[in-house]
């Protein structure tokens, strides 16, 4: 059975080109992909992830709200007693990386990430989560 990834847009950010591309990249790499659509909150994403029993959550954030919202998603998921890893992609300046890792973000992918890099990173995150 293929692994399931929930990909999500949290907050007001409407940049959805990237997430739609990533959806197809992941699908072509053999994952089952569920997309939440726009304007989600950390709580709706966490609930959907737990409901759907996914193996990972992928957030795509381009509007600069990632430092506030990405940690809140991790928090909301953990609050539901789940250890589902949360991956972040989009516009993330280098100077934010340490803080995001500290907040529990499992991997960060930024503009220019290739299909191979995306599939490899997601695979690595899933392998780490399963050990």
């Amino acid at each position: 059975m293929s692994e399931r990834i929930l990909i999500a847009k949290v907050g007001l950010d409407g940049h959805d080109r990237g997430i739609k591309v990533v959806a197809r990249i992941l699908r072509d790499a053999g994952f089952e992909v569920i997309y939440t659509g726009l304007f989600q909150t950390p709580q709706t994403v966490a609930a959907a992830a737990v409901d759907e029993d996914v193996d990972a959550i992928g957030l795509s954030m381009l509007s600069g709200a990632h430092m506030t919202l990405a940690p809140l998603v991790v928090e909301a998921v953990r609050k539901l007693g789940s250890e589902i890893p949360v991956i972040l992609g989009g516009i993330v300046p280098d100077h934010d990386l340490d803080q995001l890792t500290a907040a529990g973000i499992a991997a960060v992918l930024t503009p220019g990430a290739t299909a191979v890099e995306i599939a490899t990173e997601v695979r690595a995150v899933l392998d780490r989560a399963n050990t």
């Binding site: 197809r24 992909v33 709200a65």
Partner: protein, 548 residues
């Protein structure tokens, strides 16, 4: 007795000779004098129907394009300061970027605004912010554009009311409201109300400006976002013009004669990296618009047929890797816009793929335009590539492919382009095409069939430390919330309540123009969120069914 039939050249010359020219030497660096345009006597000249070669006879010899840099971040004070820097640096127009809460019509203290206030543009909650935003700027002098769509009518009401308080009557205000709601569902995704209800607000703004604001562009029909969302150049061309036809039909259905509003429609295209295709796209766009306006919509005035456009270089072509290289990409793209006859131009900054631009990065982007305008002499001759076998063939081909897509929408709408556009949205046709094209390009990159320097080739240097970036603090968010609290505390709540009640009543009656009620409401400090919420209670909300 046979009368002399003037040649196209003679007709053009008469108009050209009557134009005022810039004070410049129109020659090459070697001193070779240059004609204002080249071509056979019986060919098409700029300023002549169907305007393939440009809307005006004298093009940049009379007036350079407006160097209009898109800017906005933090609070209204922060952005006002940046606007003044832009004017000092030689920018010749203003363009306002709003933050996400404003773009979606909610207040800075809304729960959904958390972490988003002032991050992607300037935060505007009430007319008090609008006053700070343009304080000390002569709005009768410099033209202003506002990139906003779902809440466009409300923000426009704030703009007009604020300018009048500062002493500029609405009839003197020059500028552009983006107000292009169709492409929001198709590409930019800042929708609030359902398409048909949103179109009512667009109608109201067209009607209001046609009657009261002769210098204002009521809509900027935008291909930029469609392209950035992933479409091809042909799709950008076709979808944008199709949306344009939809707005024309909307206004005509509302009883406005075509020549009363069409001269105030303007366009906004992308300038991507495929140099010749972009130039062909602008030429094809002008030609298609002119033909449809004249033949299908019965326009009689030249200005109704002349497509004028703003242009922005392609943000999506810029990379986070080796960002300085973006300066080169932007220069090439900007040159395509200029050779294609743009009336106004924004150039992106080298830090595009990382954050909103620093002042320095934005200055270099503006300087790029100034180099093209002042050093290269490309402004001397109109449509300099016209007559090239290659470019003419590409122009014809893009026109033909666009017409093919119009054919589909025409059928979808049962003969109405307005219905076709709305149904195309409701059926996810545009959205699906755009997503498919975006993925096609991604696959070409991944397969190495397309090269992006620094991304899938020539990566030496990618490990250098990131350049200095603009940081927006969370202090801006709390400052903005405090400000909003203060405004709510100081205002006459009774006046706000009755202004909102009037909006509710008038929203329910689609025969009323909402602009006067909106202007009255913003004047008593009703907030953007309150006004949008009131309209939503009548109009409902659009929910996208996402396709992947």
């Amino acid at each position: 007795m046979a009368t002399h039939q003037p040649s196209n050249r003679e007709l053009w010359e008469a108009v050209f000779d009557a134009s005022t020219l810039r004070d410049a030497d129109f020659q090459t660096m070697s001193g070779i004098p240059l004609e204002p345009v080249y071509g056979p006597d019986d060919g098409e000249f700029p300023g002549q129907f169907p305007y393939t070669r440009g809307p005006y006879a004298s093009m940049y010899r009379s007036r350079l394009w407006t160097m209009r840099m898109f800017a906005g971040f933090g609070t209204a004070d922060d952005t006002n300061w940046r606007f003044k820097e832009i004017i000092k640096a030689g920018g010749t127009g203003l363009s306002t970027a709003f933050d996400m809460p404003t773009l979606l019509g909610i207040d800075s203290d809304d729960a959904m605004a958390l972490g988003e206030v002032g991050r992607c543009g300037v935060a505007i909650d009430t007319i008090a912010d609008m006053e700070d935003l343009y304080s000390g700027i002569d709005l009768g002098e410099i033209t202003t554009s506002m990139t906003i769509n779902s809440p466009a009518a409300v923000i426009f009401a704030m703009f007009v009311a604020q300018a009048e308080r500062a002493g500029t009557p609405r009839a003197h205000l020059g500028g552009t409201l983006q107000n292009d709601i169709l492409k929001e569902y198709q590409a930019q995704k800042e929708f609030v109300f359902p398409p048909r209800q949103s179109m009512r607000l667009v109608r109201d703004t067209i009607d209001f400006t046609a009657a009261e604001m002769p210098r204002w562009h009521s809509i900027s029909i935008s291909g930029y976002h469609i392209r950035e969302a992933g479409s091809t150049a042909v799709e950008e061309l076709a979808f944008t013009l199709a949306n344009g036809f939809a707005y024309v039909e909307l206004a005509m259905q509302a009883g406005l004669p075509v020549d009363t509003f069409a001269p105030r429609l303007s366009f906004f295209f992308n300038a991507h990296i495929d140099f010749f295709e972009e130039i062909a796209k602008y030429r094809a766009a002008r030609r298609i618009w002119a033909r449809w306006m004249k033949e299908r919509y019965g326009a009689a005035h030249e200005r109704s047929m002349q497509l004028r456009f703003h242009c922005q270089t392609a943000g999506v072509s810029l990379t986070a890797q080796q960002p300085e290289v973006n300066i080169v990409r932007t220069a090439i793209e900007a040159l395509a816009g200029v050779l294609g006859g743009a009336q106004s131009l924004h150039t992106n900054s080298m830090d595009e793929a990382m954050a909103l631009p620093t002042e320095k990065a934005a200055r270099i982007a503006l300087r790029t335009q100034q180099v093209i305008a002042n050093e290269t002499n490309v402004t001397h001759v109109a449509d300099p590539l016209g007559g090239s076998y290659f470019l003419e063939a590409l122009t014809d081909e893009m026109e033909a492919q666009a017409e093919h897509l119009f054919g589909y929408l025409h059928q979808l709408g049962d003969g109405s382009m307005l219905e076709g556009a709305i149904k195309g949205i409701e059926e996810n046709w545009f959205q699906g095409k755009i997503a498919d094209s975006a993925y096609d390009l991604e696959r070409q990159l991944n397969a190495g069939r397309r090269i992006t320097v620094g991304v899938n080739a020539y990566t030496e240097g990618n490990d250098e430390a990131q350049i200095d970036l603009l940081k927006i603090t969370t202090e801006d968010e709390s400052r903005q919330r405090k400000r909003l609290d203060q405004v709510r505390h100081d205002r006459d709540q009774h006046a706000v309540d009755s202004a909102l009640e009037r909006i509710r009543t008038e929203a329910a009656d689609s025969s009323v123009n909402l602009m006067p009620a909106l202007i009255d409401a913003v004047k008593v400090y009703a907030t953007l969120g309150e006004i949008m919420g009131t309209m939503e209670s009548e109009f409902g909300r659009h929910v996208e069914v996402p396709v992947i």
